[in-house]
Amino acid sequence: MNDSQPLETATTSIQAPSGAPDAKTRRYDRQLRLWAASGQAALESARILVIPATATATSILKNLVLPGLGHFTVMDDKAVTGADAGNNFFLDGSKSIGKSRAEEAVKGLMEMNDGVEGVADVRDIDEVLKNDQGWLKSFNIVVAHNVDSDVLDDLAALLWPETHLVVVNSAGFLAEFSVHYREHQVIESHSETSASLRIDQAFPALLEYAMSLPLDTMDITDHTHIPFPVILVRALEEWRREREQVTGPSSGIGSPRTSAEKKAFKERIRAMMRKFDEENFEEAEAQAFKCWTPTVVPSEVRELFTLYSLSKPSSSTSSSFAALISALSQFVQNNPASPQYTSGLLPLTSSLPDMKSSTEEYVKLQKLYRAQSEKEKQVFKDYLSKRQVDVDDVTIDVFLKNSHALKVLKGREWKDINPGSKELLADKLSTNPKEAAIHLALAAARKLRAQGVLPLLDPTSRPNNTSIKGILDQNNLKDLLTAEVRTFLPPGTELPEADWSIISGEIARAPSADLPTTAAFLGGLVAQEVIKMITKQYIPISAGNAASTANERMGICVIDLVETWTGIL
């Protein structure tokens, strides 16, 4: 359900005062429920370049044009062949044959959404790489599908790290893709984990309220309406006070630990019931684990404090994020709004889950949480103001609401995974043989294509009157792939025999096939990752957390559409 949370905030801003949404909001309704107006605005201002106009490339673009991408350019200097017209839905069948592939594809794509700007560029990428580098770098994201090795290497080197590059490779039923960025910050991760209610460390107003209720004498109807967080705070405080009498003054923050203690604690909650069917107490019992789940700063968030204290201020966009993290770090070290605890808490959020309660009690509890979270927000804002970076209130609110689920990811440069270090690849072959075999086979195929060894689909590159079938020699191709892959690995590395035979066999069967279904599958997956990158919402694929020193993840998504699985290498 977390997916739909931002909706309220999302739609109020773009809806007419009468209530009913305008035509654009209605058109995008089903996606606004996922990424809200902020995500939509990001999408609408993004610029994307896609090279060249293959079936896979247009499938990716389709899924970006439909939700309302700002601008796309398709770069392709080739003319439409019969094969293109047969496998690309955005070309106009045989009518497109002989015409510019870029222009025909843009025409087909633009039909779907007149709110999007689409441009065909018929230049040769080689030329552009030499003469128009600034223009290439003007895009937010460049997507390259089955682009030749040498061109791809130059393109990747040029774009790194400002413009994100997405490299997509496919042949027949097999594919892989990777997203190349240095660091990617996500505030709105849409985490399934909700922020802590701080039952174990109740803020003073909540504790005071919970202790003030005359549980035994209050009206029985009111008793059945006490929200579970109040019951838990009360029960825990009573448990702590009793324990203090036995063990002497403690820090006041203990919680039931052993399973016997936990069981007894649940019975204590049951015993607080004044009649047998008080659902709010049943709910409290079911949620009792919140008493012994300590409210802490998640380690992934804590790691960011170190990461950003070490990093030098760089570009302006990341510096506001750095300032937010730095203020958060200071808050965690010292929270004057919760004076009894000196450290270890993230700012309180005011969003409560639903619970058994009356309206009055629920709203009362909401107000308590809201008042405290406002107080803590002020402290946070004071800390932030010392950092001399201008951050607007909306961003601050979103940041604080998500502070328990912040994510900073690291990516890799294309040259680091093309195909990757020999040792890492050898290691991957033993831990993830199928995934590694697909990655290696596609890299080898790319090399062979650049050398002109791999038969191309383009009829102009074939001897007269030969069909692709006529020149495909599967066994020979398998041998060539194997020989090429050996050069990627430390001498003597054993290939996983069965897996390698299957994977190299699949490539040899269909070395240049851009199958409509594989193209559509990739079209969806790649567009999904591009949307996550652009909106900075949800979590794209990565080589791990930016703060982690672990270096074994390559950040490549690998796909086998025979057995139908995806994996991350």
């Binding site: 058109r27 709203v363 599958f521």
Partner: protein, 425 residues
């Protein structure tokens, strides 16, 4: 090729033919590489697509490009403006028209030589003979009820004497960044009904919360739609597609929220709650539809091994997918044959048993009728029998049937019956 059609220009199938001209490392022995398989795919195979919406549009386009030339599509819906963010065969000018018809026309215009036959109506309108004409059925539906119906219908079609009667069913579904695709071989693999308990339980708000103790904006909206609408409008049916009706609900819900100091009622949330809107995007639909069509292609051509039998994708955090074999349930009411054992309290009355059957995640039978081998326990129709059996509702089940007795459960909307074996505790 056996039958070269005029629309098949030079090179048209160069991509696909790399797969069809030669077997690969994971190809079945029965694969007829070359002309044999191409002739079957392009001239003989007949495929049914159920749903021409988010998944359906994608499925139709993929099938057409893959080389299927005789495609049928059923959809009872018309096009709404909110479909246009993903249902890419539709344009603003098509709003209000039949999805099946517009989609079929678009595909036939774009992909020459493909025949798409639309049916603007319900799957329940069609009989067994209709379904028997297809080699394969692909579902892109958003309704559990429709999926259960087609699943049960295809399982019932299977005649062990006639291998042609077994119609593979490929089912896709999406929600936001998540989705799943699965291959069902009726009576052989697990069926849709076998996995009913995997569905998320829909959020239901207790009526007393709505009436007396609203806490969330959703509670205020439910109050407006469930209680206030019938009170104010009497028999007039609410049309959740009519913006005026949503505006009315929004106004009423807002007033109630204000009274109770609840924040967060918006027009959009109102619409989302009353229509039970599920977020939907083009990219997820593309992934799942591609997966469905890829399986259809592999099954129809035997060109490569196919999914066994469930592919699940979650794209919220990175790309997580899980491919597994969902197990057939021996007591599945559709494909299992064994009856479901149910232990109930000796004091439970029939009405409570019915409530249990409605709510249990693996059963979910709405408005069931129940009978024992020798007597009717409770029937909803015809009216005379409903009248005659109604008093049983308040009787204890243990007074109506013996310990270990059989009870047969039927529901008008589903073409199967569930057999229960009831014991008392």
């Amino acid at each position: 090729m056996a039958d070269v059609q005029e629309n098949d220009w030079e090179g048209r199938y160069d991509h696909i033919d790399q797969i069809l001209d030669a077997p690969g490392p994971r190809t079945d022995e029965g694969f007829m590489a070359g002309d044999g398989v191409k002739d079957f795919l392009r001239n003989q195979a007949k495929i049914l697509v159920i749903g021409a919406g988010g998944l359906g549009c994608e499925i139709l386009a993929n099938l057409a490009l893959t080389g299927f030339k005789d495609i049928h599509v059923i959809d009872m819906d018309t096009i709404d403006i909110s479909n246009l963010n993903r249902q890419f065969l539709f344009r603003p000018k098509d709003v209000g028209k039949s999805k099946a018809i517009v989609a079929a026309e678009f595909i036939m215009n774009r992909v020459p030589g493909v025949l798409v036959t639309p049916y603007f109506g319900k799957i329940q309108d069609k009989d067994d003979d209709y379904y028997l004409q297809f080699n394969l059925v692909i579902c892109g539906l958003d309704s559990v009820e429709a999926r259960r119906w087609i699943n049960a219908t295809l399982v019932n079609l299977v005649d062990s004497e006639n291998p042609e009667s077994l119609k593979p069913l490929i089912d896709g579904g999406t929600e936001g960044f998540k989705g799943q695709a699965r291959v069902i071989l009726p009576t052989i693999t697990s069926c849709y009904e076998c996995s009913l308990d995997m569905l998320n339980k829909p959020t239901a708000f207790p009526i007393c919360t709505i009436a007396n103790t609203p806490r969330l904006p959703e509670h205020c909206i439910e109050w407006a739609s469930v209680l206030e609408w019938p009170r104010v409008h009497g028999d007039k049916k609410m049309d959740t597609d009519n913006p005026d009706d949503i505006s009315w609900l929004y106004a009423v819900a807002s007033a109630r929220a204000k009274e109770f100091k609840i924040e967060g009622v918006t027009w959009s949330l109102t619409q989302g709650v009353v229509k039970n809107i599920i977020p939907a995007i083009a990219s997820t639909n593309a992934i799942i539809a591609a997966s469905c069509c890829n399986e259809a292609f592999k099954i129809a051509t035997s060109s490569a091994a196919y999914l066994n039998n469930y592919f699940m994708l979650i794209g919220v955090e990175g790309i997580y997918s899980y491919t597994f074999e969902h197990e057939k349930k021996s007591n599945c009411p559709v494909c299992g044959g064994e009856s479901l054992s149910l232990s109930i309290n000796r004091e439970m009355i029939l009405e409570e048993l019915i409530e249990l059957l409605t709510e249990r995640q693996d059963i979910q039978i709405k408005n069931p009728s129940l009978s024992a081998p020798t007597k009717q326990l409770y029937l909803r129709a015809p009216p005379q029998l409903a009248e005659a059996t109604r008093p049983n509702l308040l009787k204890k089940v243990s007074e109506l049937i013996p310990d270990g007795g059989e009870v047969t459960v039927t529901a008008g909307t589903l073409p199967f019956s569930l057999s229960l074996n009831i014991s008392f505790i």
